[in-house]
């Protein structure tokens, strides 16, 4: 009885969210200021872009691929947006059009990068790992070249306001996550995505457009990168060619901790979002303790490893629960 309910709790999608909550409460006495309103707002600010990125990554992981170029895509989108919007002698300096054009250009850039990734993987048949590893290099190089490695500041106030309060960012991110979750779990397109990653050959037999589905996953991931770039750039109040540089492990970890399989076919947006929250809570608490960067990295690595091990354990439990049925 106890064991049954314990394993049910372990298998629930909300387990990771619960874990984040327990961690937060458990660490609160040891970490001063962890639960202060200021820090909670800060926590939301760093968690929201990560949730969006984890959602994009999950869609790609579901197809059995991976997008390593996502953080470089964030940097490139940021730089493109900055170049269009900045008041310092850039294209649309001071114009009222600066912000809408800039945001659209960022989204278009992200989508285009995703499309190129998707085409290379689905049509070109190049392994996703290679395509996006190369993409990571090329996009980073491009972002640095475009800015001569200097950040671009003086962005329109309306744009900066997106991250001015956590409320606005939340109002942007939450609908995106909800729509993503519903599309994946309740629509034909979502069913295609799950099927393609599990067994592409079988998917082809039942008439699923395999290549198109894979391509769309990469495009969606690109758009998510652009959205995260908007949030991060606004928060920083400047566009930077090294934006999001250290986030790649966090993104993949959030997705995997949230129950996404690296082998494709299994994953949920809800899980990825909860995974992102857990990763952010851990990072934030370690930052607050005032450890050196090296120790933060070590501790974070250990925590993510533990979470991944726990996930492996959950998968075995799931297989067992299914097998005995």
């Amino acid at each position: 009885m106890v064991r049954a309910s314990l394993s049910r709790a372990l298998l629930s999608d909300y387990f990771i969210l619960g874990l984040a909550g327990v961690y937060l409460l458990g660490m609160a006495p040891a970490v001063p200021g962890l639960l202060s309103p200021l820090n909670l707002a800060n926590l939301a600010e760093i968690a929201l872009p990560l949730m969006v990125l984890a959602m994009g990554q999950t869609l790609v992981l579901m197809t059995g691929g991976i997008d390593l170029s996502t953080t470089s895509n964030v940097a490139l989108c940021s730089v493109i947006g900055g170049m269009i919007m900045s008041g310092a002698d850039e294209v649309l300096a001071g114009s009222a059009l600066a912000m809408p054009v800039g945001v659209l250009a960022m989204l278009a850039t992200g989508a285009l990068v995703g499309l190129i990734n998707g085409l290379s993987v689905a049509r070109g048949g190049i392994p996703a790992f290679m395509v996006t590893l190369i993409g990571m290099l090329l996009l980073s190089g491009l972002a640095v070249r475009l800015t001569r490695s200097l950040p671009i500041s003086d962005l329109p106030d309306a744009f900066v306001a997106i991250s001015g309060t956590a409320g606005v960012a939340l109002a942007v991110v939450l609908p995106v996550l909800v729509v993503g979750h519903l599309v994946l779990s309740r629509t034909v397109a979502g069913a295609w995505l799950q099927s393609v990653g599990q067994n592409a050959a079988a998917a082809r037999v039942v008439g699923i457009p395999v290549e198109r589905t894979v391509m769309l996953a990469y495009v969606a991931c690109g758009v998510c990168s652009a959205l995260a770039a908007i949030l991060l750039t606004a928060r920083l109040e400047s566009a930077s060619p090294v934006l999001g540089q250290r986030m790649l492990l966090d993104i993949v970890a959030a997705s995997i901790i949230g129950g996404t399989s690296l082998f494709g076919g299994r994953g949920t947006i809800r899980g990825a979002a909860f995974g992102a929250i857990l990763v952010c809570v851990v990072t934030n608490s370690l930052d607050l303790v005032g450890l050196t960067f090296a120790v933060v990295m070590l501790s974070k690595g250990a925590v993510i490893l533990a979470a991944a091990a726990l996930d492996a354990f959950r998968s075995r439990l799931l297989a067992k629960a299914e097998g005995s049925a």
Binding site: A191, Q194, S195, A202, R204, V205, V206, G207, G265, S324
Partner: protein
């Protein structure tokens, strides 16, 4: 003077998984030098029994004696040391290693002191060669296993069993992935081993093979031993009756052979270089057409070519009235065509998805509530409930259960149901009953018959000639990528069809 103990004797074997008892008090005896056939439906407990003997599972009660000595293996390696060799249904060889490496992976002959870990390649090769010769394989021991055919891999496994001088060899469905030639070769080898006094246990769904090969046959049903008896005491009908616990009147549906005229499939000169050439075929509404040929004759390829899964270079395919150019699975589905592929695991199942999803995946459009593709769970659930009755899915199967946890027969029912729900006017079926038990087979034949009676055309590919003879209204034979003969009406001459398919 007492008689020598049997090669293997099992007494009162019980085995449970959790609360479910899968073996009840099973007694079996394998006399020295004999072959014991083990038959039963899927889930009867055959594989569990073999896994116990192979050291993969412990028993809950009972005793096993191997050559008169207590036998309680702690694992597969222990079983192998004791002299029990397990030839797995899904071959257990490392595809990336050579034959010799597979042979000696855990016990390479060494050069110099053992701790240096230097393999004696020459010795390895020579000893491997010796055992390969015994099973009639002329391959170089350095050949990479991945390059061998299924039949050759099987022979390698047997040679490996011989190399450890096994007291008992266990065969689990050894012929499922073999061509007819390869199976014949396997039977020759088994006969030779029998002549040498090798004790063996042989599990198969193919009752004819079991009746041909085995000295003794035991039937399991629902984890109970129904009876063990000498071969002479059994025939195919008695075996089936013992397996399912009732008499099966007829495996095949009765056919109403009224005249038909409406053509649902017309294939003219279809060609895919290297696979098949100039294939002409037609299927009428309500007709079941069988396509017989050896593995490799190009039968599956023709089905895949018609369905637009593989490219074809020339030739025309007409479905109903219309010519279909640029065939893709999607276009063919829109015209009411369905394809059941040969290999469930490879291109049929979405293994970690639910039974419902596997049912619904070919018909998602019908469950969509609007143009955004929002799936109506209610519509899908209704279809699934209807289907599970139609295909008689076991009542223990839950709709949200992962499909990979189902038995082969239930999986196949789900995958056939996936297509039947579309009510196709043309069903292309590739080995529809491979690796499933008699009860499920009968149900699937019945479903095919019903679909034809409702006016669909059916084209069935099978390696089992009996299946086609029992099921079909017309049979075509293929050899080396060509249609070589057609047998338009019953009764069919088994020998003649076989000859056409085999002789060049």
């Amino acid at each position: 003077m007492t008689a020598p103990p049997p090669a293997l004797s099992l007494q009162g074997i019980c085995k449970s998984f959790g609360k479910v008892q899968v073996l009840h008090d099973v007694d079996l005896t394998l006399p020295l030098g004999q072959t014991l056939g083990l038959v039963g439906e899927n889930g009867a407990g055959k594989s569990t029994l073999l896994n116990i003997l192979g050291g993969n599972l412990p028993i809950n009660a009972g005793t096993i004696a191997l050559g008169g000595l207590d036998y309680a293996p702690t694992g597969p390696a222990d079983a192998e040391r004791a002299g029990v060799a397990f030839i797995h249904q899904e071959l257990n060889l490392f595809e990336n290693l050579s034959i010799a490496e597979n042979f000696f992976l855990t016990r390479f002959p060494h050069r110099g002191p053992r701790v240096w870990g230097v393999i004696d390649r020459h010795e390895t090769r020579e000893r491997t060669r010796e055992f390969l010769q015994r099973v009639g394989l002329a391959h170089d021991p350095d050949t990479v296993v991945g390059e061998l055919s299924s039949g050759e891999k099987q022979l390698v496994e047997i040679a490996k069993a011989l190399s450890v001088s096994a007291r008992v060899i266990l065969f689990d469905e050894p012929t499922t992935s073999l061509t007819r030639h390869e199976a014949a070769r396997l039977f020759d080898l088994i006969a030779e081993l029998q002549a040498q006094g090798q004790a063996m246990i042989y599990i198969s769904h193919d009752l004819d093979d079991v009746l041909k090969i085995c000295d003794e046959i035991a039937v399991l049903r629902d984890g109970h031993l129904v009876r063990q008896g000498a071969r002479d005491e059994w025939d195919a009908d008695l075996l089936v009756q013992a397996m399912v616990g009732r008499k099966i009147e007829s495996l095949f549906p009765s056919r109403d052979l009224t005249a038909r005229s409406e053509v649902v499939l017309e294939v003219e000169g279809l060609t895919a270089p290297g696979r098949f050439e100039g294939v002409n075929l037609s299927v009428q509404a309500g007709e079941i057409v069988g396509m017989f040929g050896l593995v490799g004759a190009g039968r599956s390829e023709v089905l895949r070519g018609i369905f637009g899964l593989d490219e074809t270079t020339t030739g025309r395919v007409r479905v109903g009235e219309g010519l279909v150019a640029h065939r893709t699975p999607r276009r063919m589905m829109e015209r009411g065509v369905a394809l059941l592929t040969e290999d469930r695991k490879r291109d049929g199942l979405f293994a970690i998805s639910s039974v419902s999803r596997n049912f619904g995946i070919a018909n998602l459009g019908a469950y969509a509530r609007n143009r955004l593709g929002w799936i109506s769970r209610e519509r899908q659930d209704r279809a699934v409930t209807r289907l599970r009755d139609a295909v008689q899915l076991d009542s223990s199967v839950r709709e949200n259960q992962m499909i990979r946890t189902l038995s082969g027969g239930n999986q196949q029912k789900v995958i056939i149901g996936r297509w039947l729900v579309r009510n196709p006017q043309l069903l292309l079926l590739d080995e529809p009953t491979r690796g499933i038990d008699v009860g499920a087979k009968q149900k699937i034949y019945q479903l095919i018959g019903e679909q034809a009676a409702a006016g669909s055309g059916v084209l069935v590919v099978s390696s089992e000639i009996e299946e086609l003879i029992g099921l079909c209204d017309r049979i075509v034979a293929m050899r080396s990528g060509r249609v070589v003969a057609e047998y338009p009406t019953r009764p069919f001459d088994r020998e003649e069809i076989l000859r056409a398919a085999i002789q060049g």
